[in-house]
Amino acid sequence: MTTTAAVEAVWRMESAKVIAGVARLVRDVGLAEELAHDALVAALEQWPSAGVPVNPGAWLTTVAKRRAVDHLRRQQVLAAKLAEIGPEQAADDRKGVQVDFDAAFEHDIDDDVLRLIFTACHPVLSPPARAALTLRLVAGLTTDEIARAFLVPSTTVGQRIVRAKRTLTEARVPFELPPRGQLGDRVASVLEVIYLIFNEGYAATAGDDWVRPELCADALRLGRVLAELLPDQAEVHGLVALMEIQTSRLRARVDEAGRPVLLMDQNRSGWDRLLIQRGLRALRRAEDLGGTLGPYTLQASIAACHATASTPEQTDWQRMAALYDALSQVAPSPVVELNRAVAVSFAFGPEAGLEIVDALDDEPALRRYHLLPSVRADLLARLDRNGEARAELQRAAGLTDNERERALLLARTAALSSERPGAQ
């Protein structure tokens, strides 16, 4: 194992703390990252010959801190900053006495990391910019790694990060925790970014059918960090629960040839029990905090409902229908409605499901969405209305961009044709 690899590993473990600590001194995350990066460069120069220090995190922090202090002295603003930290220290510094920066630094690193997360996920930035900045500043990924994860050129990510830092500076976003009144919205903005990163790894974009487990792992890790920093926020635990349970299925979600396997067809013995247990525990934490369940907690409850059924037949569809009902109240969307229709059809019969689907007919957002006719076809077939079902399947096949999906839909059409209409 090379020293360089060790330095990189230490960097990923410590960079958020180092950057956050420096940012509290210089009040600028972009500058803080540069100064922290100087410390990394120093480590790469010195550790291979001098060896990795016993406490590498403290080493990086000390070097970065020294650079920050040098910078502030150059900017002649140190005295002002120190006055914020404490008047005695400011006086000491003017007298040339060695100031105890350690005390100033050790302040509360958890809060600093939290400030860093809130700043990187600030609503003045677009969600993709927030995602790139968060992966870079909080998760310690390099620009190349982020580019590879998002399948975009490195230069694109680099520019996105530079622009994001500039936007933060220009908008004078303070390196602070959000005011109490804004906390809910700001947490939502962070959760959106974490789930965006997760989905980039988990949910295939239209036409694609693969997963990138490492990106899921990065998002999950960010979520787990946030759950410890904001233990009172139910939706943080809700999102962690959702990601833990969804990640538990990664292995079963793709077959050996890389083809996606639908939830109901997955081999449940391939689900990761440890992650399911962790997900259920996070879900309990969210529920125990009380209040109305938010959209992430509700989605986690739905995921948990699948996770705790040992076979598809044992799924508690009545509970599922009630959860989708609640979800459609707090986060209404046509796609949630469509899912609710499926849950309702299994809980209360295909007719009840069809009623919900029919109400979605004029929904502009679903006009080109192949799953709408596909679901309706299912329901019609279950009602023995095979002729109508075939027409819906053909409509669905015409709407999907995915070859495999189209083949599947046409195969189902053919299967229905071979049955006698109205046959039981």
Binding site: A5, V152, P153, P213, R224, T247, G258, L274
Partner: protein, 137 residues
């Protein structure tokens, strides 16, 4: 990547000696650090082997032997499961283990990424497209 840090047994763990308050505190601090880093996923301590049993299967009915078992260093006293990005990172965490005079074994656990790396043709196509864009071979 998931790793299991296996804490080997020693004469003290085998004798059922409970940790001192100080030992407990440093271990709690360590676990908390890993928890806050989003790394710790599971961990348990085990009773001494005197409360365990061995079961061996050799053509026929299973044979059960009650503990304790000899050779403390071949036994385990507990485990910690961590999820990290690399082997190097796992090692860096293990190096921070807060006990002295202890033997640890670190093993990688099979997990999603060991199965999910199947590159689909679409993905390969996109990668190639990306290289074209970047003008790389």
């Amino acid at each position: 990547m998931r790793f299991m840090i296996i804490r080997k047994a020693d004469s003290e763990t085998e004798a059922g000696v409970m940790p001192t308050e100080e030992q407990l505190r440093t271990m709690t601090d360590y676990n908390e650090e890993m928890l806050k880093a989003g790394v710790l996923v599971a961990g348990e301590g085990l009773h001494p082997s005197s409360r365990g049993m061995r079961v061996s299967f050799r053509d026929g009915a299973p044979t059960v032997t009650d503990g304790p078992f000899a050779e403390a260093k071949e036994l385990i006293a507990g485990f910690t499961m961590i999820e990290v990005r690399s082997r190097e990172e796992a090692l860096e965490w293990v190096k921070r283990w807060p006990e002295e005079n202890v033997d640890l074994e670190v093993r990688q656990v099979f997990a999603a990424e060991d199965f999910g790396e199947a590159f689909t043709p679409e993905l390969q196509a996109r990668e190639e497209h990306m290289r074209e864009e970047l003008g790389q071979p």
